[in-house]
Assembly symmetry: C2
C-alpha cells in the first residue's frame, strides 16, 4: 500500500516541510522537565483573551453540540459595522491561514506562481508548494519588503502577490507611498495585504488599506483575531476584498469552517474596546523597555510595527536552545533565512525582564 | 477587477454549488418570526455535549489566547489508547470534512476521479469538483451503496473511493461480507470508510474496520466528534489509515487546524462513557418510537443504523417548508436525488412526538 501511496502523491507534496510552530509551554515543560516556562514565541497577547470573550465562550459551551452558523451570521453583522465593509466583501476562516489556502486553491494551478518577499511569512510558500505552484521571492531591503524588486518579478503566470504589513518575522512595514506606487504597477494581479499585526502598527505613514480598496480593487486584506484580540487558540481570521473573489472562496470553503465558540468569542472581543486599549498600551511600553535595554547592551534589533522584535544575537538556533533551558521560549529564525536572529514576543514587564536577563546570561556564557 | 478574477478562476470552481446546511434554530426563528423552534436537521446529539466536555471548555477558556498544540498532543495520546491505534496512523481535522479535503488535495489531480454511491454525502462530490476532478456515481440499490456497481466504475484515473457506512442521508449500511468482497477487488485504490455515525450502528453484521486495516491497508477510516460525542460546534474529526498517507496529509494541513477548545473538549468527551451510553440509549428508544408511529400511520421509511431516519413523505421540499412554519426543522432531500423524502434526526421523546404531530398535520392538510 505504501508503494501505491507513494506513486499517487506528487513530488511537490512529498517534499513539503511542515511549518515549525512555536513550542507550547506544555511541550517545553514536558521535554525539558522544567516548570513555569514563559512563551514569547508565537506573538500571542500576553494579557490573555478579552474577559468578555471568555464569558461568551463559557456561556456558549452548553450549545456546542450544534453546528455553527455556516456564514458566521452574528459575527458578520457585528464585523460589518465595526470595519465599515459590505457583507459580500467579507469572508471568515479557520484562522487567516485558511483564507491564504483558499485564495491559492482558487487562483493557482500547477505551474503558476506567487510573488513574495524574502523573510516573509513561511506559510505562503508552503501552501503554494502544496499546489505545485512556484514562489518567486524578491530579496529583502533592510530586512523589509522591496516592493520595487517584487514588482519586477511579476509575470504572466503570477496569480497572487503577498505583502505582509507589518511583516512577520521582521516587524518591518511598507509605507503608504511605496505601497500605492507598487499597486500602480501590479498589473491587476490580486495583492494580498496580510495585516495580521495591523492593530499594533504605530508609524504615521503605515497605510490604511480599506480606503484604498476602491481605487485598487485587486487588494485583498487579511486580518486575524489571533493577535491583539487574544484568540489564537480559537482560529478565526477574516478577509476583505473583491466580492467576486470572496464569492468563489465561499464556494470552495467547507460549510462550517469557523467553529461556534470562535464566532461567539470574536464577536465579544470586537466589543471589548478596553481590552484592546490595554493590550496596545502594554505592547507600546514593552517595546520601549526592550528597545532601551537591547540598545544599552549593544544588541542589534529591528524596530517593529508589531508585537515582536527581531534581535540579532548570532547563532539564533543555539541561543534559542539555551533560552529554552532557562524557561524562555522564543523563535529561532534560521528557517526564515536569518540564522543569526531570534524573534521574541513583546510581553508584560516581568516577562520582558526575564527574557532580557536570560538572553544576557546566555550571550555572556558564549 | 471582477473581469480579472473571472479570467483566473476555473469553470469547475465557478459552478460549485455550496452545500446547503441544516438551518440553525436562530436563523429559522429570525426568518419566520417564530420562537421555540426544534432542530432535527443536522443529526446533532439531542442530549447536548458531555458535561465533562463543557467543563473542560470552561476551564480552558482563559488559555484561548495561546495557539493550540499543532499535533493535538494530549488528545492524540488519549485517542491512541481509546482506539488502539498507532500515533502515525492517526490524523485530526477541523471536522472530518477537512480530512476529506486533505485526502483529495493529496491524491487527486485535474482529470482524476473518485467513486461514490448515489445518495451519498454531498461533500465528496463538491470537494472533487473544486479540484477539477470527476465524481463517478454508482446507482444505489434499495437506497444503499451497491458495492458491486461501485467496483465496476473503478478505472486507472480513480484515486479515491468513498464508502459512507452508515450512509448519510439514507441510514443504510454495508455489511462485513459485502465490504470485504469489495475490498478484494478495489485494486489497492484508497477506500475511505466514512464512519461519522459509527457509534450508532447496531446491526450485527456491521463491519468493524479497524481490525481490517492489516489485511486491507488501503482502508482509510474517518470518524468524528460531531455526532454521538455532541461536539459539532467545535469541529473535530479524525482519520485512521496508512502511515505514509497520514504523513502526507500532515504535510498538507495547516499547522493549527484543530482549535484549542476542541482538543480539550474531545479529550474529555472520550472519557465520558456515561454520556455516550445515555446518548445511544436515547437514540435506540427514539428509533423504536418513530418506527412504530411511522408504521402505524402508513408512512414509508428506511430503517437506519444512524441517528436519523429517511422518511418518504412525497414532495419533500414542501413538507420541509410546512414543518418549518410549525417550528420543526428537518432536511429536504431533493439535493440528494430524493425529492419525495425528508430526513429527520432522532431526538428525545418530546421532540420526536412534536415532529410526528407536525408531520401528520402537514400531510393531512395536503
Amino acid at each position: 500500500m505504501t508503494e501505491k501511496i507513494e506513486s499517487l502523491v506528487p513530488g511537490y507534496i512529498k517534499t513539503l516541510k511542515p511549518y515549525e510552530p512555536g513550542k507550547p509551554v506544555e511541550e517545553v515543560e514536558r521535554e525539558l522537565g522544567i516548570r513555569k516556562c514563559v512563551k514569547m514565541a508565537s506573538n500571542e497577547n500576553p494579557l490573555g483573551p478579552s474577559p468578555k470573550a471568555i464569558k461568551a465562550v463559557r456561556d456558549a459551551a452548553k450549545k456546542m453540540h450544534f453546528y455553527p452558523e455556516g456564514d458566521c451570521f452574528y459575527l458578520r453583522q457585528r464585523a460589518i459595522k465595526a470595519f465599515g465593509v459590505k457583507s459580500e466583501e467579507l469572508i471568515f476562516g479557520n484562522g487567516s491561514n485558511e483564507i491564504i489556502e483558499l485564495l491559492m486553491r482558487c487562483l493557482l494551478r500547477t505551474g503558476d506562481n506567487i510573488v513574495v518577499s524574502q523573510h516573509a511569512f513561511l506559510v505562503y510558500k508552503l501552501v503554494a508548494q502544496g499546489l505545485g505552484a512556484e514562489t518567486m521571492e524578491a530579496p529583502a531591503k533592510n530586512l523589509g519588503h522591496d516592493l520595487g524588486a517584487m514588482a519586477g518579478l511579476i509575470n504572466e503566470r503570477t496569480k497572487l502577490i503577498f505583502v505582509a504589513n507589518p511583516n512577520n518575522p521582521t516587524g518591518t512595514y511598507c509605507n503608504l507611498d511605496d505601497l500605492t506606487k507598487f499597486l500602480d504597477v501590479s498589473r491587476g494581479v490580486p495583492v494580498v495585504m496580510d495585516e495580521a499585526y495591523y492593530e499594533y502598527a504605530e508609524a504615521k505613514d503605515y497605510p490604511q488599506t480599506l480606503p484604498l480598496l476602491k481605487k485598487y480593487p485587486n487588494i485583498f486584506i487579511l486580518r486575524t483575531f489571533s493577535k491583539v484580540y487574544g484568540l489564537a487558540g480559537l482560529r478565526v481570521g477574516y478577509g476583505i476584498g473583491n466580492p467576486a473573489l470572496v464569492q468563489y472562496l465561499n464556494r470552495l470553503r467547507q460549510p462550517f469552517n469557523v467553529n461556534l465558540l470562535a464566532q461567539h468569542a470574536a464577536l465579544s472581543a470586537l466589543d471589548d474596546k478596553a481590552h484592546m486599549k490595554k493590550s496596545l498600551a502594554v505592547n507600546r511600553a514593552g517595546k520601549k523597555f526592550l528597545y532601551a535595554q537591547l540598545k544599552k547592551n549593544g544588541l542589534e534589533f529591528q524596530p517593529t510595527e508589531a508585537n515582536f522584535i527581531l534581535v540579532k544575537t548570532g547563532e539564533g538556533r543555539k541561543v534559542f536552545n539555551a533560552l529554552l533551558k532557562l524557561g524562555v521560549v522564543v523563535r529561532p529564525m534560521d528557517v526564515y533565512g536569518l540564522p543569526d536572529h531570534i524573534r521574541v514576543t513583546v510581553d508584560v514587564e516581568k516577562n520582558n525582564l526575564l527574557f532580557l536577563n536570560a538572553l544576557l546570561k546566555t550571550l555572556n556564557e558564549r
